[in-house]
């Protein structure tokens, strides 16, 4: 959309003399829908998470029968009420906190996920900034958040958040590697890093009914999909890897001292990261905006629908994990990453290579 806006503005003549401002305006204009999407995604995801966790635990979750303010028919307005609460809540800054870093941390985390959205394609054309190395860009941006987490943990000057941030730093950094490595098979199959080519390489279908997404391409790809998905869950700090904000040990980990709007940024960033991880998994393995029934429901609008529905199914699976599994311990987490995920991804890369060699 950025270059779309640049062409649009450069053709209009009365803006032409302010040549430099055109780039800034177009970047801002294409940034606003992303911020809007992130906010909406957070609102919906929080509501869905409450309802899913409620149904899994035999309860009803937020319902509309509150005294006074009516929280919507099935508690739909609940997340709106949360948003208002977070906006109006007082942002407490601990007296002995390192003030500047304390304020900086949420911005870095939010920028980390916000910038990762820039490269994320919703459709063939609907992408904020179209790079020809989209996959590499998103992986790089999603590790910016780690700096924010460490900063948050250190600056709140509280032993528990120090524990939380050290744990999360170790966890995210070490799970970056298997996540990146398990994406390599896609690049090997599709031959390019750009999202457009990856999805184009997955069009068409074999035997009429099975769409040839990369996941059905060969057995190793299924292992690669699961490796990437679980490494992604670990990167987003969700159960069974939610060690940094383990309620029963570290109270809330690096988020303990934050409240009000600053805490809302962390929340927004967490759900945005979840969406990115699920989105990359869909684009890479489940054929992005291609319809599961080849031939029908094609086209741009349908494309966005398919992409968002597949991603939300994967987000549902993440929530499903959260309400079923206990939590791993830090050293088990590390052992699993270096002893199981890494050899697994090497094995998958070799497997896909050999399969590609023999089958093609």
């Amino acid at each position: 959309m950025v270059d779309f806006y640049i062409d649009l503005f450069s053709s209009v003549d009365f803006i032409k003399p302010y040549q430099s401002s055109i780039f800034i305006i177009s970047v801002v204009l294409s940034g606003i829908p992303i911020f809007g999407f992130m906010a909406v995604n957070a609102l919906v995801a929080v509501y869905v998470e409450r309802k899913v966790s409620a149904f899994m635990q035999d309860r009803l979750g937020p319902m509309g029968h509150g005294v006074g303010l009516h929280a919507g028919k099935w508690g739909v307005l609940q997340t709106l009420a949360d948003a208002i609460k977070l906006l109006t809540k007082e942002d407490i800054i601990p007296k002995s906190a390192d003030k500047k870093l304390f304020l900086l941390a949420p911005c870095i985390i939010f920028i980390g996920s916000f910038v990762a959205f820039a490269g994320f394609p919703f459709n063939e054309f609907l992408v904020a900034a179209d790079f020809n190395l989209g996959l590499f860009y998103i992986l790089a941006m999603s590790s910016v958040g780690v700096i924010g987490i460490i900063l948050a943990g250190y600056s709140s000057n509280n032993k528990w958040s120090l524990y939380g941030s050290m744990r999360s730093a170790a966890q995210i950094v070490s799970y970056e590697i298997p996540a990146a490595l398990s994406l390599l098979p896609i690049v090997m199959l599709s031959g390019s890093l750009a999202f457009k080519d990856i999805v184009l390489a997955q069009t068409g279908s074999t035997l009429g009914i099975l769409p040839n997404w990369f996941i059905f391409d060969n057995p190793f790809m299924i292992v690669a999909f699961w490796l990437f998905f679980i490494a992604g869950v670990a990167e987003v700090n969700r159960t069974p890897f939610d060690l940094p904000e383990a309620e029963s040990e570290l109270v809330a980990g690096w988020m303990t001292e934050y409240s009000g709007m600053r805490w809302a940024f962390f929340f927004l960033a967490e759900y945005a990261n979840m969406f990115i991880v699920a989105g990359v998994a869909t684009i890479g393995f489940l054929g992005g905006w291609l319809s599961p029934i080849p031939g029908f429901f094609e086209g741009n609008i349908w494309g966005v629908f398919w992409l968002v529905s597949k991603t939300s199914f994967l987000i549902f699976v993440m929530m499903w994990f959260r309400w079923t599994f206990p939590r791993l311990r830090t050293d088990q987490l590390m052992r699993m990453c270096w002893k199981f995920f890494l050899p697994g991804s090497f094995f998958v890369i070799i497997g896909v290579g050999l399969w590609d060699l023999l089958m093609r």
């Binding site: 309860r59 029963s248 040990e249 309400w323 599994f325 206990p326 939590r327």
Partner: protein, 382 residues
């Protein structure tokens, strides 16, 4: 608030050590308990528990209350297994006054105590799952526990602190329909244990987190006076209901589950947890047998003394409460008010051995060990 420099920190000022207060207000200390831990990174070097935050002068109160007025106070010691508290207290005073309670009251007491044991173990299992990180088993266990609390509410009006078992009998008989409702609960609850097993007990992450963690060797357990499921978890076959049968426990056949080290070494957290799960099934068996054999007619007030004035003397009697053997040392000087009433609380001894067990484990494990010991701070601080 730099690192709080106190004398301990200064003299062995190796810079890795950090004093961490798992303070009185912490999500998984099962009550108000402060653990001052000296940790090296995540590894724990030394723990000094500080208790007394919930101290309500139970023993001083009981020196100014008559025997039957002390029952609401005995309830409030172990507020999760208060029916077993009353049972233990009533047996102790009845032994002191050598009252023989009629057959029907014995059955009522056993039924009610075992139901309370199920409710207490459900809470222990659910909260242990919460400590390890699994939220859903906690909600399932509490849903089943609610049904027991409803039955108790129908029986004596209260959900947690009953004041139901009195000295010489019970405050009143089963209401109409209570026995059928209990049968209904027993049939409802049977498959639910299997569901918890699927969800948590055999879950590989749960096993990874609890097997071989916090092993209590048998001789350490005995020397620390640890009792109940924690002792049976270490493989010692000691259950007061079987080894020193009181009331009519010798009429029922049930077996005592002990830790076998199925998933790790004998005496680890998983064993203690699994002993509690098996004890749920045993208690179900006892309640079912007791309900079948209970004489339907008979008066519950028969042997209830009008004036409770035990002859001067002393008694130490202990019964099996969900957390271990609960001892009552009562010394009476002939008047209606006890001159000394001491409650030996099983959670008190269980907590005292945490320093020795959790040395060298990580912070997350130490909280798992604390969860597996199933302590209640009301009983520790009295």
């Amino acid at each position: 608030m730099g690192i709080n420099i106190n004398s301990q920190n200064l003299n062995n000022n190796s810079d890795e050590e950090m004093v961490l207060n798992i303070g009185p207000q912490h999500p998984s200390t099962h009550g108000v308990l402060r653990l001052k831990t000296i940790t090296d990174g995540e590894i724990i070097k030394k723990i000094t528990p500080y208790i007394g935050y919930l101290h309500r002068c139970f023993e001083k109160h009981c020196e100014n209350l008559t025997y039957e007025q002390a029952i609401p106070f005995v309830d409030r010691c172990d507020y999760i297994g208060s029916m077993n508290n009353e049972f233990g207290y009533a047996i102790a005073v009845e032994k002191l006054m050598d009252i023989q309670v009629p057959e029907k009251v014995e059955y009522i007491r056993v039924i009610v105590a075992e139901m309370n044991r199920i409710a207490s173990h459900l809470l222990a299992v659910g909260v242990f799952g919460l400590d390890v990180g699994a939220v859903t088993p906690f909600v399932y266990c509490f849903r089943d526990r609610e049904r027991i609390l409803d039955l108790f509410e129908m029986l004596c009006g209260a959900r947690l602190l009953y004041n139901y078992i009195w000295i010489g009998g019970v405050s009143h008989d089963f209401p109409v329909g209570w026995v059928e409702k209990t049968y209904e609960f027993l049939d409802y609850f049977e498959p639910k244990i299997i569901e918890t097993n699927d969800l948590l007990t055999y879950n590989k992450i749960f096993i990874e987190r609890t097997a071989d963690v916090g092993v209590i060797p048998p001789e350490v357990a005995i020397s620390y006076g640890v009792t109940g499921p924690n002792l049976r978890g270490s493989g010692i076959n000691w259950d007061l209901r079987k080894n020193e049968p009181y009331s009519i426990y010798d009429k029922f056949d049930f077996d005592i589950p002990i830790g076998m080290g199925a998933m790790g070494t004998v005496g680890d957290c998983w064993d203690r947890y699994y002993v509690r799960i098996r004890e749920l099934e045993e208690s179900l068996k006892i309640v079912r047998q007791a309900l079948d054999q209970m004489p339907r007619d008979g008066d519950v007030y028969e042997s209830m003394p009008k004036k409770i004035r035990p002859k001067s003397g002393h008694i130490y009697s202990r019964t099996e409460s969900p957390r271990g053997d609960l001892g009552f040392y009562i010394e009476s000087d002939g008047s209606a008010i006890p001159s000394r009433l001491k409650l030996r609380s099983p959670a008190f001894t269980a907590l005292s051995c945490i320093d020795e067990i959790s040395k060298g484990w990580m912070l997350a494990d130490m909280l798992t060990i604390l969860g597996s010991l199933d302590i209640v701070l009301g009983e520790i601080d009295r």
